[in-house]
Point group: D4
Chain length 256, copies 8
């Protein structure tokens, strides 16, 4: 409910073109649709430039199908993340326009694509091969948001020469998403090499003292490279959304 819309509403009441009860109703009508187990937000894109995304984990295939159909019926894009392998076939047969990316664990369809930006790509970096699924989740999300991207995989700090070769690519990037498990050292090194925004994604790869990703998470948070920010463990989607906020904000407001 923006001030503009409120002013317009009050003006119509003032002019008598809108009754008090109608005004009340409009103030109370909210842009979501209530199904039994969810309130589907149909105006999120309007408010945030980002369509609503369905976190697949913790929902039944039936619930996911229900929400996806509601979004599609409202002409919105659909992105489901962290989809359980066993739910995918049900979801795909019920909503055939969705495309499945089993590595990224997503299904998606882009109805109303964001205008594709022409600037430099976002580079998505992984420390190892095991970090690829999380990187792919980020890449799918960027694609849904119309943001160009490039892959730079398996350049962990124990073999530094692989990373150093890619420094020019990283310096040209609009932003860098760095995905790493185990000790999570890669974002510190990347953050020290480039001045662009760096978003760090810890992964749950590793064993023992890797603590299911907490070690990488804490390491990234205490990074000695200033200005590196962090999202939840395995949350490739979140890092891509952080980039989407940045791109969306630049589009609307222009450069600094």
């Amino acid at each position: 409910m923006t001030p503009e819309r409120l002013r317009n509403l009050l003006d119509r009441v003032r002019q008598g073109t809108l009754g008090v009860d109608e005004a009340l109703g409009e103030l109370e009508t909210l842009p979501f649709e209530d199904i039994e187990y969810a309130r589907v937000d149909l105006h999120r894109k309007l408010r945030q430039g980002i369509p609503e995304v369905i976190l697949g984990e913790g929902k039944t295939a039936e619930q996911i199908i229900g929400i996806a159909k509601r979004l599609l019926a409202a002409g919105q894009s659909v992105l489901v993340t962290r989809l359980a392998a066993e739910s995918a076939p049900k979801v795909l047969s019920a909503v055939p326009e969705l495309r499945h990316n089993p590595i990224a664990r997503t299904v998606a369809t882009v109805r109303d694509p964001a205008p594709r930006t022409d600037g430099p790509p976002v580079v998505v970096v992984t420390a190892g091969t095991s970090d690829v699924p999380v990187a792919e989740e980020a890449l799918v999300t960027l694609e849904c948001a119309g943001i160009p991207s490039e892959r730079l995989f398996d350049v962990g700090v124990a073999g530094l020469h692989r990373l150093l070769e890619a420094v020019p690519l990283l310096r040209r990037a609009r932003a860098v998403i760095v995905v790493a498990g185990m000790e999570g050292a890669l974002p510190s090194v990347v953050g020290g090499l480039v001045a662009v925004p760096v978003f760090a994604v810890p992964t749950s790869n590793g064993y023992g003292a890797a603590l299911g990703g907490l070690t990488a998470l804490f390491g990234m948070l205490t990074s000695c490279a200033a200005g590196v920010t962090v999202v939840n463990i395995d949350n490739g989607f979140g890092a891509a959304m952080a980039v989407a906020r940045l791109v969306q904000s630049e589009r609307v407001k222009g450069p600094a």
Copy 2:
């Protein structure tokens, strides 16, 4: 060592204007100055657009003074964060051009100011009064980086009306830094209200189950608002540097 500089150097060797040994020397000469306990990075700004910042914690007043003098001698700005209260007088009397901000726990002087941007300000939000020192650290850092900012303090989620009033301000911001302790719920609410970049700073305020800031940190990392990213507990400096990366990147590359 950029490719351009390397090509230039190789060209000079080729032309015989640079001897092999000199070239070797140049390749090995690195832009830092070695004092007993530190290697002061005199070219960081060149590489990252961000001058080197001194983390005061864990350093003696003498070490801080030594590094600060070296930076000033090289014509660089100085920012010292997390300065112990008992070190401040020594540092200030030894390096009188530094200004002290006791709430932010910083001393700083800006020698070579970044060109001040004219765009919308960064809004620095706190949940409570106890979060103000961390917010002030962010504000000092933004000022050193030449980025305009605005305060929005004490708007925690338990009194939602205080925050809702400020939504237009938040929507106009270039980015929002949200500083909160205890349960750290504010970034989720802000992230759901605005589409601009949101950087969350957990603070160590609170007691018992606040776990010295870990509860706020974990809460922000699992925020249900997509694309909110997080820095270390009490790290106002880090959030401001994340904004600096974003602004610096826009300046250089233009909007998306």
Copy 3:
């Protein structure tokens, strides 16, 4: 063993209408029945206004059936919570009068219903769709206790407009049970909007830094909204029982 019952017993001994040995026996006869693996409490309702509830987790189907039959034989209601999916068919075929709620993971039958209260309902709120099973456990428990309830699902803080619409409903409630996972911010926001009793239930939904519900739990415990109290992770039953204590106490003692 209340003082009144003790006085009465002593009076009867005094008057000679009760022998010393009989008195001893009565003092020692305790209102539970001993089966091999459990002491079934047949007088809990008498003492607490709440019939004994069987925690299904950690018990075999055979043990659950044994205890349920003993309670039914004593004319009591039965509520089994956290019933393993594989135990449900066995329990239902052995004790056919039980009704199964697979979402809530309960089986129950109400033999001796509490008189249904006519006051305002308890509102059970969830942040997301994944929190619904825990909310349903609370709703089943409230129903067993004869307490009217209403659902308000999927109103998490990242889409605040969904919650704000429901504020009048929440303010009219006898009590509010707020069920949320991830960062667990919803009880703080609800607690700041209403003055009625608020019971917060963290859920194990989320991943990574959600720490299996500990993040939501700690967040709720450090809530900046005063007077919000908390139960164990996923313990919808516990929150409903807290409401039952409140309702039971009001019934007996009248309003303040």
Copy 4:
């Protein structure tokens, strides 16, 4: 902003007695007063029946004084909790109408006392002598809220006879607040003995495996007594506020 107030406002706009801009202004005028470091909520009591309370921890004496004066100037009561011993003299000399309770670590003055309820008292129980300060914080808070209370101290489970004697008192209580450190077993025992609302407060008393109160906290959360709810470690204030919500709700809505 209740629906009634909104309807009234819209009616006045309709009737022309309120201009659009004035209406906008009124919609934006929020009931708090902005001082540099805090937004003092002057209408909380109106909204919640509970005046705003100042958490002393993390605030300077100057900030506490500033907020307290603003509340007093608005005719509100003042309660400051977790006040640092060294701040107390400054606060008391600047705001002489405040009374200091050094054991409870509070200063308070009740300007606008809640009507004193006549019903049964709230019983505040401690397991040991070391838990008394937390219990006293609860007692001061109850007093500010006009709720009668009674003490039952040092009745920990290792000497069960001390507790059993008091069962009749506990059964008559409007609610019981149980304060315990170390293993935090007392709320389970009390919760099994009485049917009234039980609010458990873990304390940081104990050493080693007591983990600064986390052991008591976790123990209370996993209590085998159903319907016991829990607040943060050492948060006597929070438990009292939970009781205040209950009493306030009963007053307004009548018994079930």
Copy 5:
């Protein structure tokens, strides 16, 4: 290698009845038998009055069979604890003299029974039905050690009357083993009621804040009842062995 045996050996060397090399050999011959993956201790009973016990967890069925056969061949008793359900049939068919207790997860045979003591029994107490398997592991172990025992199950603190009835039994016991999960409050209460040795066994029963038994463990360690000692989570065997040390010690040394 006791001093007596050493003296005897040295005497024989002195007298020339034992050659230096033989003496060396004897000194080096140690009372265990080396199989590929284990050194089976054939003299433990001699040294400790307790035969060697096989921890089944982490060993293959083949390894368990190999060790058990070696012990039996040496005329020793066998007790295997924490035996995986899928290993039991293999072990039983390979070593038919073993008896299986599936609830306790043990197989055992007593070849060389300790003389049965006639004194008061050890009472094994559980808080709930879910704690029974751990209690049964303790009971099997006590039986192998020839120590008489008695069961007292499902007497958790939330229904205190069930425990109070049994106080005379507990006071007569040689020792009490208290098995409890969730908040683990029962050993504190028992420890406060009786003066006999109390060994507390936390179990992994419970969910959420029960932390897989850590909450019960920490609670028991911080018990306010003095002199209660604790073993590892679910370690019924360990508690029984503590009792065996006590009984063995009394047998050898007589009462204090």
Copy 6:
């Protein structure tokens, strides 16, 4: 309240030698004395053979003095543990018959000494010099309980020869209390060498990964030596009380 006492009381009521109200009074009169902040248990020794002990931590000097005087007035012994260094002079000057042991952090006086046992001593072992204060707390407690003891200090596992020399002493002991910090390995080694009861006391000595004693605690709980039991970190008192239970039990019941 034993059955015998209850029977006697009922008999007297039956015979008319005790009035109903007097009987009620007697049933309600409990053997503790209520001072403002504590209920001093004057009959603990009667019930447990162990006088009440005052945990000094968390109590003011005034509270300690109050409780100690009450115990002395009732003719009981006094033992105060974990007494803050700054409280000791106040306590000693107010209650001059107490003796101070500054290393053990205790004050004590034995009024009613337990009959000194003549059997083998309890051996109190430490891994290092830093563990001595905790060992001394155990030794003071044993002395108060009339149990003979012997010291074996600084025999940590990194210098095994120091321990091996003492094996005969350890094998003769009535029980062994093993006090160790850091990795806490000593109880495993001792437990493997002797068959007598072994009580392990982790200490908070060490740094970093010692985690304030948690590492030693967890190590002792997972000891590969069967039947070793554990008390809280730094709880020398608790280990001595476990021995007191054992000795007390043997005295009353005779050997097995």
Copy 7:
């Protein structure tokens, strides 16, 4: 990129035998081969004397096969660790020259064996039978590195005589790898008995307070035996690689 190679390259540029662009190309050509999901390091042995090893965990069988083939094609040895049981058949049928060790969970082939050293063996010690798989991983790795080794299994500290017998073997060793779970005490004892390098490997064996190997890990890190160093939980490979660094370093540099 060593200085020598750089000098040689610059010399060739100087002499005109290498063009600037070729020189640039050579400087940028890095010794790895890029496949879709991995950058296979073909020169690691050159740089480190250790061929690249594939961590099987977190990679699909297809990815492992792809990397292994690339390494074999480059004439390198292959070692895959932590290979999932279900991946082994696929990998073995696709790359038949690999040998499978199911206990160690490795597949390996040594193409280019390191010259076998003749010195004293590395002794790999385990505390128990359950620790054998981790020890075998170390042994396979040592074999790949051409380092002679010897087994000493099941010599945990609870049966010290088994270890003491082996002291001469341990003292003769080039290095000792000590593998232990539960309380992880063995490295402290071994470290106190021998002066050779001791590398400790905690294992995830044990339950409850063993915390999945964290207790052993922390115990080893706080070992009272000086100079014992530690690797990750279950990381037998890492300990063997530490030995390989030591042996490789001695070979190149000679003794101290």
Copy 8:
């Protein structure tokens, strides 16, 4: 007690030149001296090539002086680590031959210097200035052990060029000790660049998510660079002792 010494002793008994009782005595005489609070190990150097070192933390100045004097009286070297600042003056005035290093927090004197090795130095690396004290502790220890060393300070991964310059130095080192706090990434990078032994020392520098050094510790343990081993937080002494084991072992056994 080595086999050789045992054989010699037995030979003398055989020949009658040593009586049985004397032999017994000799077998029992152990090379330590017992003072009240410590058993000073006077033969450690003989057994391990490393003199006994006194951990200052947790000992009083008096105890440190007592042990140091005993060692000096036996002609041994003395090294005290982690000496409290307030104890240093007392220790130095009582034992004037000790030299104090306040940054390293050590006092030491080398009586019986190890023969100084001539090989390549050990390089001690720090990530930042705050890590210097821990590095200095390692350097003092190396000096006591007669091992040459070199400093390479403040070369953290956020400014990679500082480290890359030093690669040749690192590759020539006998071993590298890497000291780093915060995210602890430096050992991974160093371990990937060099093949020599790398010992990682996490420090407690950093705040918030640095968790007092645990984050660096866990990061180093999960390092993606193979064969890096780790010591306790801030344990510079331990890393130096690991190097001493390596050097000592090479001296005695020669290269592989």
